[in-house]
Amino acid sequence: MPAHDVVLLPTALKLYPPVVSLDCRSQAFGPLNFPFHLNFGSRNKKVSRLNAGFWESIRSGILKNNTAQVIEPPSIVEEEEEPLPEEFVLVETTKPDGTVEQIIFSSGGNVDVYDLQALCDKVGWPRRPLSKLAAALRNSYIVATLHSTVKSAGEEGNGQKKLIGMARATSDHAFNATIWDVLVDPSYQGQGLGKALIEKLIRALLQRDIGNISLFADSQVVEFYRNLGFEPDPEGIKGMFWYPKY
């Protein structure tokens, strides 16, 4: 398997394959939690409800048999737009039995490394040493995540929280950013979540004035990223890898 590669997703999913996959070996470590609050201002951490409009652009639309309320800010970066909150509810669904599931986006990088490893296992990526995973997260400029929380009807406070998606970007904090490791839990694929994840990540990067956002895409996901505004080989510029293993 190529060192740099894009991962071949497990069968069911077409749209949200990760961009890069890596080799690794697992090791045992103590709980590693890296609250990683990259912040720009004091108005973070509020979970805000915003207007719909975003979902029209998502092909898969509304979930069947559920009341899915889509709460989403307009996704195009405009001239005077509100800064993206660090954390907010992307989708809220009320199931027939009354439980409420929320998909929460966060750019705060609060990822439990064990959860991440479990998610990587789920999408079929080769294992990587936990300490390296933790270091990679720490050294990333923005780590964007999707978590699902489920609350029973009438339950107060947060329900169980589960990591269901992640994408991260490395950057020099001034000019360039590169997106790596895009993944969405197979059971949550096909709902436009991967697209939302990338859109929000892009928006967060643009708001920090990073002008050049790049990534490397497997041939089968070039279209996916094209639809998000990425152009392959702009002006003939080619992505090259040093002695790729393949």
Binding site: A3, S214, A217, S219, P244
Partner: protein
């Protein structure tokens, strides 16, 4: 120019690509430290003593847009590895390259430049091979870059492959976005 260390410059058609990769890792530099110092060049791995205005001039000389030196400084402070060559006579940078990444898995090389008056004598290769080696020594195996079409031939002999396995480099463009 005599090369002190003889390494295969063009990737050999070895049956096993891994052997080729391993061979490159263990080989010595094509442009040796001696050949650099004997010609009056010193190389540096930090931004200490690097005059950013001079660096900006080199960028401008090769056609990069001139960038705010404060932003350049910020970028260099958040760069995983960088290498520059100083021409002792003028005390100015004449070659440069840097790499950003996550420090463990991936690195991307940016801003590879050689002052036009110093091109063609192996400085670009010297900078690149040392930068790649430094990244490999840190355990970073996935080293990538974006190459303009006219310099693909510069990177290929250094071991870089374009679009391996169909992977495409993509860049975000605001105008591009479909709704």
């Amino acid at each position: 120019m005599l090369l002190h260390n003889h390494i295969p410059i063009t990737p050999l058609p070895l049956r096993n690509p891994t052997r080729r990769r391993n061979a490159a890792i263990s080989a010595n530099f094509a442009v040796s430290d001696d050949s650099l110092s004997s010609r009056g060049f010193t190389f540096h791995r930090t931004i200490e003593n690097l005059n950013l205005d001079h660096l900006n001039s080199v960028f401008a000389a090769v056609g990069f847009p001139r960038r705010d030196p404060d932003k350049i400084r910020l970028a260099l402070e958040h760069t995983d590895a960088l290498l520059w060559i100083e021409y002792e006579k003028t005390r100015r940078p004449v070659a440069f390259a840097r790499a950003t990444g996550d420090g463990v898995f991936n690195a991307i090389i940016w801003d590879v430049v050689v002052d036009p008056s110093f091109q063609g004598i192996g400085l670009g290769k010297a900078v690149m091979e040392r930068l790649v080696t430094e990244l490999l020594e840190k355990g970073i195996n996935n080293i990538a870059l974006y190459s303009e079409p006219r310099v693909l031939g510069f990177y290929r002999p250094l071991g870089f492959v374009a679009d391996p396995d169909g992977i495409r480099g993509m860049v975000y463009s605001r105008k591009q976005k479909k709704k």
